[in-house]
Amino acid sequence: MTAAAVPAASPASTGEQPGVRLARSRRNAELSLLLLAMVLVAAYAATVEANVLDTVTPDFWMPAAALGLVFLGLHLVIRWLAPFADPALLPAVALLNGIGVGFLRRYDLAKAAPADRETLAIFAGTGGRQLAWTLGAVILAAGLLALMRDHRSLSRYAYTLGLAGIVLVMIPAVLPARFSEINNAKLWIRIGGFSIQPGEFAKLALLAFFAYYLVRKREVLSLASRRVLGIDFPRGRDLGPVLVVWMISLLVLVFEKDLGTSLLYFGMFVVTLYIATERVSWLLIGLTLFFGGAYLAYVLGSTVGGPFLNFYDRAQIWLDPFAEPYDRGYQLVQGLLTLGTGGLFGAGPGGGQPTLLPEVQTDFIFAGIGEEIGLFGLSALLVVYLLIVERGLRAALAVRDSFGKLLAGGLAFTLALQVFVIVGGISKLIPLTGQTTPFLSAGGSSLMANWLLIAILLRVSDGARRPVTGGGGPAARPAGAPPEQLHGAPTEVIRP
């Protein structure tokens, strides 16, 4: 590990470390919260059956119990490998994942003929598949916790990860449409009946690379600047990486026809850049570039058409979905009607009609759930997401090294942004783009990538809350110790 990647000794980052003195592991709190989450999931399943079947079958608890066992396994892994990890993360994610599985099972029930509903196999259909994916994703997350005993070891593979990220982003764009296109978006790699969405994994790899790169360059990016109109602007040559990422996002936007992923990558990069440099000018440049690019794509779409037409269409639908309610605007209109039908309290789990909403198991799952649990229920789900994000940011605040701060902060923000893009999209706050709703949408790629994200946050939070003087893991090295290779470190600039 190069010393540059671990500027743990920098005065700026040792200034405040909330929660550092908290030496309690709180694993029992995690366990009880997890049990509470599983009770909620079981109650949800029971309500669904009561509403759809008019009776509660004796097997209603089985998916919740299966999920509970999977999460209990992860809890034990955390006890063993990351005993000081944040205790709220796992139960919160488990609740979302459980509601997702429950809703998908509810969707299977709605699709089945009324006569077959009561005998519908409990582990079949989309719900059963999602349960299997959950098992896979949790095993993957546990594996990552086992392999990566210290988040800083990730920086060793930063360039490899960066390259892998770019390749993963590019593959669907380069592949012929029949291997990569689903629903008019080139986001997939399809082999046989199996498809994965490499972009979901690419965001993790790219973020690890950003964090590493920016920690190395933060001094020069934040200090070498010109002041124009009271704002510090970076030098032209330092803009290079930003422009490269901007180009990548635009390529994604235009050739993979996916504004959401593009916005996700770009937002992720600009925010990590801002965290690293503490310069507002980067935010302004980033926002200008993104909105400028989006506006340009809109104008080009209306005049030139071609690859920009898709974006132009989406913007048009967003501006007035009711203009073509049975044609282009159908999905969004039905999403809005579904949410509106839910109203304040919803029809109750199992009381809605999810079959009327296209893509209810993927993009529109939030609307489908919203019909049944209403504004109050959706607000609760948003709060759970917010809790996960804020816990991630808390880990970033508390961790002692810059790489960890950037990594956790960037990942937490990426999760928030993804929720914003898809929930904002289906509720007509922003143009709708195909994104998965983290932990809720059916699909393995999304679930695995987001569980890996949680595993990294768990690892960073473990590093952050672990007592400084404790022995054992690499993270417990004395934080104040000077880097081993002092001669290789860049000059520290003392800032006012």
């Binding site: 009607l337 949410l339 509106g340 109203g343 009327l356 948003l382 940011l393 929720v419 509720s427 706050l429």
Partner: protein, 501 residues
């Protein structure tokens, strides 16, 4: 790096705040609008949960709902198929509803305010009583005769309409528009089937979805002579007054002579008014019109119901089918000056004169009913779901009185003469006094003429029992005689039905 991290935390709070605010907007403020939106399939599912009431005529259900066992619980069916299509309309799953199904939708669906007591009762008893029933004025026999005679007409017309009303009440006895359509596929729960059926009908150049009896206007030809004759009678001319006729008449400003339909019709220089009507003398009425002037003819037409744009046929005065306004046109030269040529042509129902079949029946009806025109209606009664309570029973209303009783008497004599001695002989019915007026209207250069007949039947006691208008679009030669024959059959059926009841 902690300060920007905290600010990122604030940004996340703002983003989630926006999501939360937007969800409030959709799920609280706009919730009702979205929940009841026409595009919301759930509205229909809820609508199909309750059994929709019947539409009936003369004790027969013409539109009824059957349980399906599917997601939409009740399927709407129309046992009468094409025969009643234009009156009943249809209630489709995804398309717009039409006809009585649309006009009385609230009552049929059971959501009407009138039925609130039933819904409250259901809440306590746990019953599902469904929607209310609509009873129509239609005579089953007259309607089926009209449909059969019109579609099997002997001149090969493919388009046309027939409407019969009771002159004393305004109750519609029959209403048929040809070509018709089968409403059953349109009400299919398979929306693809419904949409395919609808698109096919919508694109059909013959326009089967049009209600020609109420919403299409055509030049009325000689049937308009009744209006001119009424104006003449009111300005001092009697039915025996000799009026100028001749085999040909060229109005002062036009090189185009007006001729009669055949050389045998009124070749003499003068004929009596009653003869002019009986033989349908064009030259006589052209000159009569020029003598009376445009203002008198237009005013008389207006009093008969021309130019009325807001007439509806459904419940009395409670909305319903919109009726197209019949028009007399300008009858003037482009500058606005009096144009005898236009006036002469208009007086025989050509030029810009346009009339709906309903207006034709109303004219005949007011002649038969001592000069009183009754407001036409289709809905006789609204019955509660359990059929014990009646929420509405039609009470006849006079629409207007276009002519006085003596003028009506004279017109009646002249129209009876048409059926007894003139062009409308085929409309005669044994045991009844039948009067009427035929009309042959040029439809345009190179296309066959439209055939018209307006008429009425009066029983032995002097009661007007039926008034009718039959129109055969582009029927060609013999069209008006065939229209007269069909009109007679329809009135006969209407009389038989009311007698049998």
């Amino acid at each position: 790096m902690n300060a920007p991290l905290r600010r990122v935390g604030v940004v996340v709070m703002i983003l989630f705040g926006l999501l939360f605010a937007n969800l409030n907007w959709i799920q609280a403020y706009k919730a009702d609008e979205y929940r009841n939106s026409d595009y919301n399939g759930r509205v229909q599912v809820a609508e199909y949960e309750r059994k929709r009431g019947n539409i009936e005529a003369g004790g027969t259900a013409l539109a009824t709902s059957k349980e399906t066992g599917g997601k939409l619980r009740f399927q709407r069916t129309y046992p009468g198929g094409e025969k009643y299509a234009h009156v009943l309309g249809y209630k489709p799953v995804n398309l717009a509803d039409t006809g009585i199904e649309k006009i009385e939708n609230d009552f049929l669906a059971g959501t009407s305010d009138q039925l609130i007591a039933n819904r409250v009762k259901d809440m306590f008893t746990g019953d599902e009583t469904g929607g209310g029933n609509v009873l129509l004025t239609l005579s089953k026999r007259a309607q089926e005769t009209a449909y059969k005679q019109l579609t099997d007409n002997q001149v090969g017309a493919t388009k046309g309409a027939a409407i019969a009303i009771d002159p004393r009440t305004g109750a519609v006895q029959a209403l048929v528009s040809m070509p018709s359509f089968d409403p059953n596929p349109l009400a299919s729960h398979d929306t693809t089937v419904a949409e395919t059926a609808y698109n096919k009908l919508d694109k059909d150049p013959a326009g089967p979805l049009k209600n020609r009896a109420l919403s299409e206007t055509l030049p009325p030809g000689s049937t308009f002579k009744i209006v001119v004759a009424a104006a003449a009678l009111e300005s001092g001319i009697t039915k025996t007054t000799q009026i100028p006729a001749g085999s040909s008449y060229t109005p002062p400003t036009s090189g185009q002579p007006i001729r009669n339909a055949a050389p045998s019709i009124c070749p003499e220089p003068q004929v009596s008014l009653i003869e002019a009507v009986t033989e349908s003398c064009n030259t006589g009425f052209a000159q009569l019109g020029v003598k009376l002037g445009a203002d008198k003819i237009k005013e008389k037409a207006r009093q008969f119901g021309f130019e009325q744009e807001d007439l509806t046929v459904g419940q009395l005065g409670e909305g319903g089918f919109g009726v197209a306004a019949s028009r007399t046109g300008d009858m003037a030269a482009p500058g606005g000056a009096t144009d005898p040529a236009a006036l002469a042509q208009s007086s025989i129902g050509q030029r810009d004169v346009r009339m709906t079949p309903l207006e034709g029946a109303l004219i005949a009806g007011s002649v038969a009913n001592h000069g009183k025109q009754m407001r036409p209606y289709l809905v006789k009664q609204l019955l509660a779901p359990d059929r014990t309570t009646s929420y509405y029973t039609a009470k006849d209303r006079e629409l207007r009185q276009p002519i006085s009783d003596p003028v009506a008497n004279d017109l009646r004599d002249m129209m009876v003469s048409v059926v007894e001695n003139g062009t409308g002989r085929k409309a005669a019915i044994d045991g009844y006094t039948v009067g009427g007026k035929t009309g042959t209207a040029q439809s345009g250069p190179g296309t066959p003429d439209h055939g018209w007949f307006i008429g009425f039947a009066i029983d032995k006691n002097g009661n007007a029992v039926s008034a009718v208008c039959v129109e055969l679009e582009q029927a060609g030669s013999g069209g008006s005689a065939e229209a007269a024959r069909i009109a007679g059959r329809i009135m006969q059926a209407a009389i038989a039905d009311s007698g049998g009841r």
